[in-house]
Symmetry: C2
Subunit: 294 residues, 2 copies
C-alpha cells in the first residue's frame, strides 16, 4: 500500500509543492511505490488526519524566513501529544502575480493567503497602491477570485498559475530574494520507521516547554542548560499558553541528536526547571532537488 | 485641535473598541476635547499614518492571550524607527456569532479575521463542523458577507452586530474564557508629552535586538544581563530578521522603567552583546473601564 501524505490543499499550494518534492525524494530513496497526496482544507486538519491514522504523514509548514512561525503547526503539536517530527525540508518561495490584464492600474484587489500578502507587502504598496488586499484560506483558493475584467489579481506560485491555466503578469514579487519556508514531515509517535533517515545529515531536535508561573528569569535556566553543554539552539519561539495573557510555551530547535549523552543530561536537568516538557522528535534536514540546504 | 487616533477600521473592530476606550480615558483624565478616531484599512497603514504625522496616535494590537503576537505591529516598529510606545491597555475579548438564522445547521461558512477564527476554533469544530472558515481582513469586513438565507455567519464583537443591526445567535463563543488583547498607544518618537502618564502605575519598557550571526548561545547573554539586575522579562518574542531563515530579532518587555540606573546599566552592557538594539519606549499600563488590569 502506498504511503499517504496530508498537506494544505487544494493543488497548487506551497504545501503541495513541498509534499510533491518529498514524494519524489521518498520514491527515489526507498524504491517504494509513489506516495499518495491527500489535500486537506487547513493545516490543522492535515495534522489531525495524521494524528487519527487516516494518513501516515503530514507535510506541515513551520516557519517562513519573512513572515515567521506558522503558529497552528506549533500549537497543534503541543496539544495533540501523538505526533512526531521525522524530517525537515526547506523550500524556496517565489510568488507570482496572476491576473487577466497587462495593466497593473486596472487591478482593484489582490487575493492571497495572509503569509504571501505579508511577504509581498512592499511590492504591493509600491506597484499596486490602489489595490485592497484580501486574505483567503490558501493561495489556490485565491485563484477562484481572478476575474475576466482584470480587476482582481491573486498571488500564488508559478505551478498554481499553470495548474489553473491563468496568466502570470509579474514574477518574483516577494520583497526579499531569500524567501524560503521550512516544512516538517510529521507522523504518529509510534509509526513504524518506514521512512529511512539519510546518513550524514545534521540532526536537529525540537522540543517545547512551559515554565512555572511568576518565577522571574525562568527562561534563563533552560537556555543555560543547553549552553553549558555546547548545544546550540537555532530557534526559540514563544507561543501563548492559552491560559492567561503573559504565560507562554517556548518552542526550541536544538542542533543536536536526542540520543547523545549531552542531550539526555540536558533533558534530565530541564525537567526540574520546566513545568511541562515535550520532545517532538530528533530528525535530519533532507536535501531535495528544488529545496534548499539552509 | 483634537487629538487624532488611527486604528484598524472600519467601525466595529476590536481595535476601534480599544481606541474608543482610550478616547474616553483621555477626555476624562486630561479635560481636553474628545479625540477624533481615524479608521485605517490595515494595522500597518494605521501605524504609517502616525509615522508620517497624519495622525498623532495609533492604537495597535500587540498580543492576544490565545493567538499570540500581532507580528505586523512588532515588525513595523522595528522597521520604521520613528515610533514610540506611550501607554498600554488590555481589552477583554468576547466574540459573538452573527447570522440571519436560528438554526446552526443551515450555516455553511463562517467569515472573520484570522485571529477570531483561531480563538473560536474548538467551538466552531464542535458546533459548526460543516462550515468552511473564511479569513477576511477585519471582523467588521466579515459582516458584509452575512446573507439573508442564513447560510453565511460572521464572528465579530457585540458592538459590531449592533452597529450593523445584525442578529446575534450565540454569545461568548471564544474557546478560552480568559481571552484578552493587549494594545499599545503609539506616537512619533519626538511627539510632545501631551499624553500624561498616570502616576502609581507600573512601568514597562519594550525593546528589541538582533544578535551577531552564528554565535551559539547568543541569546543567553542578554537574558543574563537582565536577570543579574533583577529585571523581570514578562515577554520574549522572536521574529525573523527577514534576511535569512534562522536569523531573528528578539522583542522583549521588561518590568522596569528605562530611567532607573539598573536599566541604564543593562542597556550599556547589552550594546556589546547585540548587533542592533532599539528601545521602543517606557510606558504605563492604563486602567480603563471595560479593560483589564493584567
Amino acid at each position: 500500500m502506498s504511503l499517504s501524505i496530508a498537506h494544505l490543499g487544494p493543488a497548487g499550494t506551497y504545501a503541495e509543492q513541498a509534499a510533491l518534492a518529498y514524494a519524489d525524494w521518498y520514491t527515489q530513496s526507498t524504491q517504494q511505490s509513489r506516495p499518495i497526496l491527500c489535500p486537506c482544507p487547513s493545516i490543522a486538519q492535515a495534522l489531525l488526519s495524521t494524528a487519527s491514522g487516516e494518513t501516515q504523514l503530514s507535510v506541515s509548514p513551520v516557519e517562513n524566513s519573512i513572515e515567521g512561525s506558522v503558529s497552528v503547526t506549533l500549537d497543534t503539536l503541543w496539544q495533540l501529544d501523538v505526533l512526531k517530527i521525522r524530517q525537515a525540508l526547506v523550500l524556496p518561495i517565489e510568488h507570482v502575480l496572476i491576473a487577466k490584464t497587462d495593466n497593473l492600474k486596472s487591478i482593484q484587489a489582490v487575493y492571497s493567503h495572509p503569509q504571501p500578502l505579508g511577504q509581498c507587502q512592499t511590492w504591493l504598496k509600491t506597484r499596486l497602491p490602489q489595490a485592497t488586499l484580501v486574505p483567503v484560506s490558501s493561495t489556490s483558493d485565491a485563484l477562484k477570485y481572478v476575474d475576466e475584467q482584470g480587476s482582481i489579481a491573486a498571488i500564488a506560485s508559478e505551478r498554481a498559475a499553470q495548474l489553473y491555466q491563468l496568466p502570470i503578469i509579474q514574477r518574483s514579487i516577494q520583497d526579499h530574494p531569500d524567501n524560503c519556508t521550512r516544512f516538517w514531515i510529521i507522523s504518529q509517535t509510534d509509526a513504524l520507521n518506514a521512512i529511512s533517515a539519510p546518513a550524514n545529515s545534521p540532526i536537529c531536535t525540537s522540543l517545547a516547554f512551559s515554565l512555572p508561573a511568576n518565577v522571574p528569569g525562568a527562561l534563563l535556566q533552560p537556555l543555560k542548560i543547553f549552553n553549558d553543554r555546547h548545544i546550540n539552539l537555532s530557534r526559540i519561539e514563544s507561543r501563548p499558553s492559552k491560559r492567561s495573557l503573559g504565560e507562554y510555551v517556548f518552542f526550541v530547535d536544538a542542533e543536536a541528536a536526542l540520543e547523545t549523552s549531552q542531550f539526555q543530561s540536558a533533558l534530565e536537568e530541564l525537567t526540574s526547571h520546566t513545568e511541562i516538557l515535550k520532545v517532538f522528535g530528533s530528525y535530519p534536514l533532507i536535501q531535495i532537488a528544488g529545496t534548499r540546504n539552509s
